[in-house]
């Protein structure tokens, strides 16, 4: 379970997150929507400690992410993350990309790590691209590679930071399908997304962020069909 309490994040003078309280239960799929600069991506970075926070707390299964005594490298193994830029390691094949972290972080043997890599690449539909370098893969394939790479660490939670925003329109579907597959498998997911269709179909809950505040959170039917907040209504009217 992810427990976020009174989370504040500043970038210099910029107050990006203004007191976020949010719980995400095991098995839940939460989509986070909102305009650019609303702080939704920053929230993900604060959850896995890629950004420091100024106030409040984030707990993963009871462990305080930002406590000095916490081993973040160990904690991050529980939290897979997929970025807007797919960030494939260009010097490694697809299989090596996926096998690297299990090998050096978890200390698996090379054979074991490569076996995990093969399994996960097949899982995301890249079984025929094992030996390819990222330069020979399309954006959509590289993003699926990034998902496989995160899954290879056997995370309990997956964080998606606008995973489809940098893709060509015709490649968005394949990545969303992979994300749907994970959701069906019961993965706990927080998806920062601009894909309203995906948010509506796949999410258990949808949160709308506005200027660093979580304006509204609820089941997709509420957010999309009967939003309570005026800001949510305006935002959705603009994206439709």
């Amino acid at each position: 379970m992810i427990e976020i309490r009174d989370l504040h994040k500043h970038f210099g003078d910029l107050h990006v997150l203004k007191g976020i309280d949010l719980d995400v239960k095991k098995g839940e799929v939460l989509s986070v929507i909102g305009s650019s600069g609303s702080g939704k991506s920053t929230l993900l970075y604060c959850i896995n400690s890629l950004e420091k926070i100024q106030q409040g707390s984030v707990k993963i299964d009871g462990i305080d992410v930002h406590a000095k005594s916490t081993d973040v490298n160990k904690l991050r193994q529980k939290l897979g993350m997929v970025f807007q830029q797919w960030n494939s390691f260009p010097h490694l094949t697809a299989m090596e990309n996926v096998a690297l972290a299990p090998r050096i972080v978890k200390g698996k043997s090379k054979e074991e790590a490569l076996h995990i890599a093969e399994t996960q690449l097949k899982h995301v539909g890249l079984g025929d691209k094992l030996k390819n370098y990222p330069s020979a893969l399309s954006g959509g394939q590289q993003q699926r590679l990034a998902i496989a790479r995160a899954l290879a660490m056997e995370p309990e939670y997956m964080l998606f930071d606008e995973a489809t925003s940098a893709l060509d329109p015709e490649k968005v579907g394949e990545v969303l399908d992979t994300m749907r597959l994970l959701a069906e498998e019961g993965m706990t997911m927080i998806c920062v997304t601009h894909e309203m269709g995906f948010a509506r179909d796949v999410s258990d809950r949808v949160a709308y962020f506005h200027h660093g505040v979580m304006e509204e959170i609820g089941p997709p039917e509420q957010i999309f069909d009967a939003p309570v907040s005026e800001h949510t209504r305006k935002f959705l009217a603009n994206v439709r």
Partner: protein, 220 residues
């Protein structure tokens, strides 16, 4: 009849050996300086990039001096003034020390460029997988950044190897000094300088060819 004494004698096969041996010395002094200088340069480059410490400011300006002052002046100054502080080195030792620092100064900038060539988001991605700072540095930044600046580093290597000729001013008999000795004896500057040039070429060319091969392989 008056006897003439000749100081000069023609170029012979043994002189070729002499040049070859000198070329090996050039290779040796370069190899030593470039290897140690590269390791130091990478460490300095990393410090400059991290820039957390006061050290970054001091190292940065010291390296600036070594980058900006002509090598020949550095060599003469070090060789003649180091003994004053009790550091008495022979020409070879002095040459290695100065060439090493000179290489480190050049490589530090190359290395910093390499670190900065790796996108921040890629480093965040590797950290998000649970890699530690050092794992990210060795498994991601080193290979990716290293490839990005490999051509620049090869440029430094070839440059330092040719610049090692300047150690001849201290009296170390490497390729250039050996040529000067032979020219004085044979009075055949054209032939001998052409030969020395050919030796330098023979040392440099394989390196650039080999480097090009690597780059080609990485480009795939």
């Amino acid at each position: 009849m008056q006897e003439t004494i000749t100081f000069f004698s023609g170029f012979g096969a043994s002189d070729l050996w002499f040049l070859g041996d000198a070329a090996l010395k050039t290779l040796w002094i370069s190899l030593l300086s470039i290897s140690i200088g590269t390791v130091l340069g990478v460490i300095f480059g990393w410090m400059l990039h991290e820039g957390k410490w006061m050290a970054a400011a001091t190292i940065g300006s010291i390296l600036d001096i070594f980058r900006s002052v002509p090598l020949i002046i550095q060599l003469v100054l070090f060789y003649n003034f180091a003994p004053i502080v009790g550091l008495s080195l022979d020409p070879f030792g002095s040459g290695v020390v100065i060439l090493t620092i000179y290489t480190a100064a050049l490589v530090s900038n190359v290395a910093r460029g390499g670190i900065e060539a790796v996108p921040v988001s890629m480093r965040k991605a590797s950290r998000s997988l649970g890699m530690s700072y050092w794992q990210d540095l060795f498994h991601i930044v080193l290979p990716i950044g290293g490839r990005a600046v490999f051509p620049a580093w090869i440029g430094v290597v070839l440059g330092v190897m040719k610049d090692s000729a300047l150690v001849s001013v201290l009296g170390y008999v490497e390729l250039l000094k050996a040529s000067q000795i032979l020219i004085t004896r044979t009075q055949e500057p054209f032939l001998i300088l052409a030969l020395a040039g050919a030796f330098y070429f023979a040392l440099s060319y394989p390196i650039s060819r080999y480097a090009a091969k690597f780059e080609q392989r990485w480009a795939q």
